[in-house]
Symmetry: none
Subunit: 214 residues, 4 copies
Amino acid sequence: MSTSDSDGKLSKREQRREDRRDEIKQAAIKVFSEHGYHAAKVSQIVKEVGVAQGTFYLYFEGKEQIFGEILEDFLELVVSTIAAWEPSDLDTREALGSDLKRVGLLLTDVLMENREMTGIFFRESQAVNQELQTLIREFYETLLAMLTSFNRILHERGLIAKMNFRVLSSMTIGMVERVIKEYVVHGQLEDVPAEEVVDNLVVYYLSGTTRDIE
Amino acid sequence: MSTSDSDGKLSKREQRREDRRDEIKQAAIKVFSEHGYHAAKVSQIVKEVGVAQGTFYLYFEGKEQIFGEILEDFLELVVSTIAAWEPSDLDTREALGSDLKRVGLLLTDVLMENREMTGIFFRESQAVNQELQTLIREFYETLLAMLTSFNRILHERGLIAKMNFRVLSSMTIGMVERVIKEYVVHGQLEDVPAEEVVDNLVVYYLSGTTRDIE
Amino acid sequence: MSTSDSDGKLSKREQRREDRRDEIKQAAIKVFSEHGYHAAKVSQIVKEVGVAQGTFYLYFEGKEQIFGEILEDFLELVVSTIAAWEPSDLDTREALGSDLKRVGLLLTDVLMENREMTGIFFRESQAVNQELQTLIREFYETLLAMLTSFNRILHERGLIAKMNFRVLSSMTIGMVERVIKEYVVHGQLEDVPAEEVVDNLVVYYLSGTTRDIE
Amino acid sequence: MSTSDSDGKLSKREQRREDRRDEIKQAAIKVFSEHGYHAAKVSQIVKEVGVAQGTFYLYFEGKEQIFGEILEDFLELVVSTIAAWEPSDLDTREALGSDLKRVGLLLTDVLMENREMTGIFFRESQAVNQELQTLIREFYETLLAMLTSFNRILHERGLIAKMNFRVLSSMTIGMVERVIKEYVVHGQLEDVPAEEVVDNLVVYYLSGTTRDIE
DNA sequence: TATGAATGAGTCTTCATTCAT
DNA sequence: TATGAATGAAGACTCATTCAT
């Protein structure tokens, strides 16, 4: 998300270009978030930034492309947030629990800071075109694969019970996803502190996977 | 699903009208399912049925309206399926488990029989307009309320542990939802039999809510 | 050009459709002829007919397509005019001469009746797109092939001298073409009667091919 | 062609300016030749030269203007080539023939060296705007007038027969033109040596104008 | 009821040209 | 002179909806 591409310095001109791009992208996020992809007009986006219609096309190929880019940004944000998580040694269920809470809170923070993008993602990213549908499908496949293998490892370490790990992973993703929708997108659970929400998720996950180990 | 107002008999003319309506609606489901709401064209729907463009408007107010109606059908289908479920006495966790399996399989059956509508629902029902967003929000609120109160009762009967029941309900919904997406919509878990999938869901739910009662 | 497709009768509805199509096509010819392809607006065409913008697209795929169709009509008109010509026995140069005059006058008539299309053809048919360039190239190839073989036959019958017949054909086409441009398109030679113009062409052709037969 | 005002030397600065102008013009010829006037973009031209978009406008008024200038260059090239021809005394048809061959080959050479411009001229110079259409019309009028008067003189010297000299000139121009298109632009007659092509043209012209003098 | 031709508002996109630096 | 970012006018095309027959 930051513009520090390949950590290199950008020339002043390049910097200005990046800034302008970002400015437009932010405006697009706002407009998409308010009206949805189909109802959003390029004219609204440029008006938001205060530039001419043509300027938009100097930075993006079109409405579809910028939407795709925004979506990719979001997916990358989520993946990198999760990937940034350094699991501790995880030799006890307690350690596992506190680790999960940590990553859960981290993700919550990030998504809360990007509520609009999160909302766009859930509300209609699938409805734009086939390409994005595929992108999202792959995103879920990645998550699913990551979680499945993670669960398998936990099982080998005797931390969770034997289950159909793919189904387990699906359930876990759905569980988290729904809570995010309620909490982040709809602000429905707002009276409940994030900690408690995450706590419930983790406890549920842990208990749900305990069964016959005990 | 049928518009059998007051369960009464329909005159031949009314019956014919109903049939035609249904025919168009089925075609619309097919077209929406294949192309998505925005890419779907009224012309495709009528071609599918083999009637003229104008005929469509004799039965439906327009594209948005028929989509809304299809969505409402779906929501009603889901709600009525769940509502049709007569919980047994549920005095033990075993009874609860088998009951949940029963309703789970029931729902799976119904959704599998209506895969296209299920897909439409998940993929983009939110993206059409504000009105439908509200409708769907209310649907979830209803589910949430039902589950929350259900969970509370179970807790009172000592069947499940004390938790934040709203969060618990959210999690449960998401869990089920995600699995439905994978299983029904994407056909992703197809090698796993429905029984096993449902079984995993129920076990997970039960364990996840067990914690400190034992 | 006539709508008597495959000599079959058209139903009333089909007939009306054909009429409307033709009406639009005539308007398009007028607009293209006045403004040229690029400067011509679809909006001008429909205004000319007195229908809405969308109506245009019920009958034609777009601006490019209708232009192509008009051009094809023209090429077919020319080819069929020439093809309609039944050469007489042609055993003497006199017979050849009078025959050539006949077809020349025929062609002149047809082109004069379709001045606008003729003008469009010469002025910019090449400039529209590659596809049309190819079409036109093929048209010339056809003419060239026809003429070349025709000239060869005349030579075999001892009516014209031995020459490079392909070059001869090219020259002949160009000669005729230029005169058409002056006479039909620019109205430049208008004081000269068509008969005289054609006469000059024929005499020139005949003398130009006489050389060593005498 | 060059802007060498008063045939004087150009200062270094002026020289550099001229060079840059020419560079851009050459690039424009290339781009126009490849894509045609309408499809050609100023951005392509400047990219070809390696300068910025704005630079183009330091040297030319715009796309239309540079095209016009290129076209004028071409017309001047043709006219000056013909004008450069010093007719010999021309008292016999043999002398006339060899003279015509000479100028024919000269013209062929020049056009072959400027194939791209030649192609631009034939393909779509007419389609750009009214102004150029007029320019081209005048060019043809000039040629026509030159040829007409030339033919008249030849007739007076008893070298060619009496004909409608304007029509004759038109025919001659068309004849040459078509052959040029085939030979220079389309490379269609490439297997035939230039000499033969020109020879055919001259012979045809001479025979075509012989008729009753003999 | 059924038809399907006609409507026309609505939006994305292109690209020649300008101008502040 | 050179740059290149910004401009903004202009137009093709789509498609849900209407309505005369």
